[in-house]
Amino acid sequence: MSADAYVILAAILFSIGVLGFLVRRNALVLFMSVELMLNSCNLLFVTFARQWGNLDGQVASFFVMVVAAAEVVVGLSIIVAIFRTRRSASVDNANLLKY
């Protein structure tokens, strides 16, 4: 089958990730939306790698996964630290720098 379908699937998933990031207020769900966007880009990397018979795309996808793991660890511990002081995981309540 043509690789076009994978590209369209990745575009749909990326847009859903953007929608979740814009609409939701819970910091955890925002993070999951970011993960969804990263995953859709990984799907594109793998698709293009197979399209051109070139393994570099798969290596790039692997590096994206490693960086995403590091990002999630730090981001989730920031969420836990904010929750400990503000008793909330909502991004609207983290407004200390505003005042």
Partner: protein
Amino acid sequence: MTPLLVPLVSGAAVAFWICAPLMVIGALGMVLSRKAVYSALFLALVMVCLAVQYAAQDAPFLFVVQIIVYTGAIMMLFLFVVMLVGVDADESMVEVIKGQRVASLLAAGGLVILLVAALSRTFVSAPVGFDAANAASEGHIQGLAALIFGRYVMAFEATAALLITAAVGAMVLANGERITPRQDQTTRVKARLAGYAATGAHPGPRPSSGVFARHNSIATPAVLPDGTAAPGSISDVLVQRAPTRDASALGAATAAVHREIAAATEGEGER
């Protein structure tokens, strides 16, 4: 090329058309479900299906890494944090910025139309596949290893530094600052004896819960000789959470036997 199952339908196509709708449904469910736990589980579904897509696209290494790293490690981390932050913390449905939801929907809809319109005819040829690349490096995994430890070795080393920094950062951020002084055994003993001197509170351990022929759970109070419950024999947490057993009901059988014996001995005394 992948072998065809029936004319014009390959295994990769079957996997795609089974998994792609599931992925879109899972992604929408992640965005739309109000509880963070459901969002995490929907995202796990998307990631498992994505791993199947990798396998269908001749990427067995990424298939395994996706399952282990994403579904195994990252999603479990998400679930742990959901557990810490509170499973039933529903988010408020109040729009803070007026019209933000409609604007977000329009933006995401516009983005999907733009991307699909721009990318729907990306490729004019069939996929090349990895046959040539795998033959050149004596196998798929060997080819990936040659790239990771060859051309991209500096990036690989940098990710090692990144992971160590992330681990240290997580430990620093998640480590709470101690506000009250540390309670050790000496201070606790002194506090108990001070309480005994001031109010006469019992300084020793509290009585254990009741152990009877029919009940021995920790929700059973210990019964004193006069039939009342021993104070402090049930944990306060249990009392707050659920009703505990009634001490008078526990002593009822004993009391009844005592009354019978008393009645019998009285009768003997008369005879």
